[in-house]
């Protein structure tokens, strides 16, 4: 198996406070990986470091063998990372369709001048990207809402739209930051189905999630973070029995 992501010694320090210390991780093509841990364990910080939003203090991130540490977020996106956000960050005043079409930004090439002249190739590209965006919306069962403003969607659908938007960038790895947070049971169920579907399509996914049932159900391998450090890794079964994990979650028994 070829690993598509290799993280070595990733460390993040904020003004003396160590938010991540020496994280190592390898991700194989097509696997679904879970990152769990108590609040403040550094999970989102980890995603922010991977996607370049807050570049890491030390360490190395290799995507398909290429060192992408510390480069600008928009370039990292074009290299193959796409993510969703813990606090939904949609383009609220754009339609659902346009949100996904923004995701297609680096898959399209129309220049400013060509767009102003509305050349034939631009019109063709627009039609194609609209088609592509609709396909993605269909995949996530959002196509009925295509002309609604993203901000007007119910919460669960907003989370789903974030996934759609991320998929549009055609990522090598999809990073989902608490995709089930705030969802009701039915919505969580739907989400589980969607991730299953994405898995069948061959996507590689890293999920941060608090919902244990959810994550144990879907992930093949888990990483457990606590206080910015990785305290365990393994299959859901192994993690369930791991003493360090139990201690981190339940506290030291006296």
């Amino acid at each position: 198996m070829s690993s598509i992501l290799k993280v070595t010694g990733l460390t993040q320090v904020f003004g003396g406070l160590v938010a991540l210390s020496d994280i190592n991780m390898t991700v194989e093509q097509g696997e679904i990986l879970g990152v769990i841990g108590p609040n403040g364990a550094g999970k989102t910080t980890f995603f922010n470091a991977l996607t370049g939003i807050i570049p890491p203090t030390r360490g190395k991130i290799e995507l398909m063998g290429e060192d992408i540490t510390g480069i600008k977020p928009h370039i990292i996106s074009s290299k193959g990372f796409a993510r969703t956000f813990q606090n939904i960050r949609l383009f609220k005043k754009m339609t659902v369709l346009d949100n996904v079409m923004v995701g297609l930004h680096n898959k399209t090439h129309a220049s400013l001048l060509a767009s102003l002249l509305k050349t034939r190739s631009v019109r063709k590209e627009e039609a194609e990207s609209e088609k592509k965006a609709l396909e993605i919306l269909q995949l996530l069962d959002l196509d009925d809402f295509r002309y609604e403003l993203a901000g007007s969607l119910p919460y669960g659908l907003q989370r789903r739209l974030e996934i759609a938007r991320a998929l549009a960038t055609d990522p090598l790895i999809l990073l989902l930051d608490e995709p089930a947070a705030g969802m009701n049971e039915q919505e969580t169920e739907d989400l589980l189905g969607i991730i299953q579907k994405l898995k069948e399509l061959g996507y590689t996914i890293i999920i941060i999630e608090h919902d244990m049932k959810f994550i144990m159900n879907i992930c093949e391998r888990l990483y457990v973070f606590n206080h910015g450090a990785k305290i365990a890794e393994g299959t859901p079964e192994e993690i369930k029995k791991n003493a360090a994990v139990i201690e981190a979650y339940l506290g030291k028994e006296s």
Binding site: N48, I54, Q86
Partner: protein
Amino acid sequence: MFIQQLINGITIGCNYALVAIGFTMVFGVLRLVNLANGSIFALGAFFTLIIYTAMQGHFLLSLLCAILATAFVGVMVDRLALYRLRKKGAARVSGMITTLAIATIIDNAVIILFGSQTRPFKRPKDFGNILIGDAVVGKLQIYILLSILAIVLILSYLIYKTKLGKSMLATAQDPEAAMLMGISVNRIISLTFAISAALACFAGSMIGLYYQAIDVTLGTSIGMKTFAAAVLGGVGSIPGAFVGGIVVGVIETFVAVYLSSGLRDAIAFFILIVVLLIKPAGIFGKKVVEKV
């Protein structure tokens, strides 16, 4: 010559500092860029002038009345225009634009009532000069410096040592938590506006006395210079605003004397832009990282 210009610069700068402190306090409590601060400065100066002219004498009493009147205007600005926006949870930029509207209204009301020409601002008496080394320093300058120093000290005491000041700091830190702690946030906000306007009025009146003239455009330029001062010191920081104000005053005085008086007004903006480019958080400010 140098010493004398330095003292002139500090005299002007102290006044900028007062206005900048008012600006920074409002920003600290509300995260609001108050674009009307300069207009309130000019309005305050006009109040003092009008009341003083009407009362024929009693400068200090006129000043006191003007300060109270300006503080009232400051509170009303918040109550009538900004309070509703806050209650609706409007975007912060709406607040800033509202203060722009208020600035436009105050400036033009002043023009309509008092005219757009420069008005002479008569000193109550000839204060005379004293010699410090070979520098000729107006006694008025000394009075201005001392009174501003006193105001800043009293204000610092109020803010950092009293319960009221601590409630203010708490509100600036986290309005919701402050409210939960039983602090009446709206009262604190009104008070902040009142203090800010009173400081602007005092500085406006002092500048009027010092230059012996006042006109409405002074408000606009002082408004912008005091942003520069506040940003230089780090927006939200009171000591920062104080130092920033003095630095801007001194630099612009030197530029006017040694380079060109035409550049005098432009220099504050150059400082502002350079500071923002090099150290956006200012000298005393802290860098704020957005939570993702």
